[in-house]
C-alpha cells in the first residue's frame, strides 16, 4: 500500500517535471525565434549607409541615433534628480508607514502600470498642443521622464531602505547633520542600486515607441537641430520602415536596437556589481 502511494507520488512528480520542462522549452523557443529571426533578416542589411549615411536615396538611422540620444539625455536629466529626490524624501524624511508615504507609494505603483500610449496622449495634449511645443524632442523627452519616474522612485527607495540603520546612526553620532548623512553616507551606499535603476530606465527610454509616435513627430529623414526640433528614435524607425516598404531596414534597425538594449542591461549588471564592492570616497 505504502509502496503504491510512493510510486504514485513519483509519477506525479515526473509529470510535473515534464510539464515544467515543456513550458521552459517553449519560452526558450519563442525567445530564440524572435531574436534569431530579427538577426537573420536584419544583419545582412546593417551597413554604413544605414548607420551613418545621409538620408536620401537609401534610408538611414543616423537621425534616429541622434534623436534617441537626445531623448535619453532629456529624460534622465529630468527623471534622475526628481526621482532620487522623491525617494530620499520618502525614506529619510517621512515615517515608513505614514499616510503620505503609503499614498505616494500606491500612486507610483499605479503610474508604473499605465500603458505607455496613455502617457503619449498626455504628452501630446499637454506639451505638443497646450504648451505649444509642437512636435519636439523636448516634449517627448519630458513625457518619457514622467513615464520612467515611478520606476526610478521605487527602485531608488528600495536601495535607500537597504542601507543599514547603524550607518546612519554612526554618522549622526559623529556630529553630522541630516544633509551630510544623506549625501556622504546614505546615497553613496545606495549608489550601485540607483545607478543600475537609471541604466535600466535608459533601456526603457530607448525601446519606447508609443509615447513618441504622439509627441516627437517621427521625422525620419532629418537630423534634429536641437531639443526643440522634431525628430525620430530607433524604435520609431522600426515602425516607420516596416510600414513604408523597407522591411529589411526595419529588421536591421531592430538588430541595432536589440544590441543596444542588451548592452545597456549588461552594463547595468556590471556597473552595479562594481559599485557594490567598490570603495566610496568621502570629501
Amino acid at each position: 500500500m505504502k509502496a503504491r502511494a510512493h510510486r504514485k507520488e513519483i509519477r506525479k512528480y515526473s509529470v510535473l517535471k515534464v510539464v515544467a520542462q515543456t513550458a521552459l522549452g517553449l519560452t526558450l523557443v519563442a525567445l530564440c525565434a524572435v531574436t534569431l529571426f530579427v538577426l537573420a533578416r536584419g544583419i545582412p542589411h546593417v551597413n554604413t549607409q544605414l548607420l551613418f549615411g545621409d538620408y536620401g536615396m537609401y534610408p538611414s538611422i543616423k537621425p534616429a541615433l541622434i534623436g534617441t540620444l537626445y531623448l535619453i539625455v532629456i529624460s534622465i536629466l529630468i527623471a534622475a534628480p526628481i526621482g532620487i529626490g522623491s525617494a530620499v524624501f520618502l525614506t529619510e524624511y517621512t515615517r515608513s508607514n505614514s499616510r503620505l508615504t503609503r499614498t505616494i507609494r500606491i500612486a507610483t505603483e499605479t503610474l508604473a502600470g499605465i500603458p505607455s500610449i496613455v502617457y503619449g496622449i498626455f504628452g501630446y495634449l499637454v506639451f505638443v498642443v497646450a504648451l505649444g511645443f509642437k512636435y519636439s524632442l523636448i516634449g517627448g523627452g519630458i513625457t518619457l521622464a514622467i513615464m520612467i519616474l515611478p520606476v526610478v522612485v521605487r527602485s531608488t527607495e528600495e536601495s535607500l531602505l537597504a542601507v543599514p540603520r547603524i550607518l546612519r546612526e554612526g554618522s549622526f553620532a559623529l556630529g553630522s547633520s541630516k544633509v551630510r548623512t544623506i549625501f556622504s553616507v546614505v546615497l553613496p551606499c545606495a549608489s550601485s542600486g540607483i545607478v543600475t535603476s537609471l541604466i535600466l530606465a535608459v533601456g526603457r527610454v530607448m525601446s519606447e515607441s508609443a509615447v513618441l509616435i504622439l509627441t516627437i513627430g517621427m521625422v525620419v529623414n532629418k537630423i534634429p537641430e536641437g531639443f526643440a526640433s522634431p525628430g525620430t528614435s530607433l524604435a520609431l524607425d522600426v515602425y516607420y520602415f516596416g510600414s513604408h516598404g523597407y522591411p529589411e531596414q526595419a529588421a536591421a534597425t531592430g538588430v541595432v536596437l536589440l544590441v543596444l538594449v542588451v548592452s545597456i542591461n549588461i552594463l547595468a549588471t556590471v556597473l552595479g556589481k562594481a559599485l557594490g564592492r567598490g570603495e566610496l570616497v568621502d570629501g
Binding site: 553620532a173 559623529l174 551606499c189 570603495e279 570616497v281 570629501g283
Partner: protein, 284 residues
Amino acid sequence: MGNNQIDTARDSEAVRVEEGGAALNNGGLPESSDMYNITVRNCDLYYGDFQALKSVSIDIEEREVTALIGPSGCGKSTFIKTLNRMNDLVEGCRITGEILIGGRDIYAKSTDVTLLRKNAGMVFQKPNPFPMSIYDNIAFAPRTFGIKKKIELDVIVESSLKHAGLWLEVKDRLKKNAMGLSGGQQQRLCIARALAADPKILLMDEPTSALDPISTGRIEELINELKTEYTIVIVTHNMQQATRISDKTAFFLLGEIIEYGTTESIFSMPKDKRTENYITGRFG
C-alpha cells in the same frame, strides 16, 4: 579660567546668555578640557507611554571608566544614548530632568547637538564602519567640522589610528575599504573614528559583545589607555569586563539605578539585595 567661567555661568543666567557665543561654538559645552564630568538629576525618559528611565540621578567623574550593568531591557543603553542625545532620533521619545556635562544643560535650547555629539563620541554594539576607505572613515568627522587640508587630515588620521592601536595593522592600506577589516579591527576603527572628532567623552554601548575574546581583550586594554584622557561610559553585559576595566559601576534594573559606587565596592559588598542577586548570577 575655565572653572571660573563655568561657575559664573552657573550662578547667573545673564552671564550665561552673554556667553551664548562660546556655548554655541562648543555645543553648549565648556571650552576647558578640565570639566567633562556628567551630572544627571531626576531624568525620566518615555518612549510613547512606556517609561524607560525612572528618575535616574548619577554623577559620572571625568577621566574615569564608568560601567553600566544590568539585565537586558533595563534602560542602560537608553541611558547612554541620552548623553549624546541620540534618543532625539527616536520618534515619540520624551525626556525630563536635568543632564549636565561640565555644568551645562545639554538639553538647553542653546545646545548645538552636532557639537555635543562631536564632544561625546559613541561606539556602537555592532561595528559600523562606513563602506569607504579606512582613511575616509577616520577623516569623516574632521571633514564635517571643516578640516579640508590633506596635511591636517593626515595628522589626525595617523594619531587617531595610533590612539586606537590600529595604526601598525593598517598604515599600508589606508586607501583600502574598511569593510575588509576583521570585526575586532572594525571596532577599533570605529573607536579611532570617534577619537578623530577630538571628543572629551567616549560612550560605548556594549562595544565588545560582537567580538571574539582576543579582540575583546585588545579593546579592554585600549579603554584602560584611553581613560587617562577621556571620560568613558561603557554599557556591558559582561560583569568580568566591568570589574576589569571600570572605576565605578552603576547597576540598572527596570529603568532605575539601584546602586552606584566604586566597582570594587559594588562587586565585593553590594548594599542592595537585587544587586547582589544580579552580580552573583541569580538572574539576568
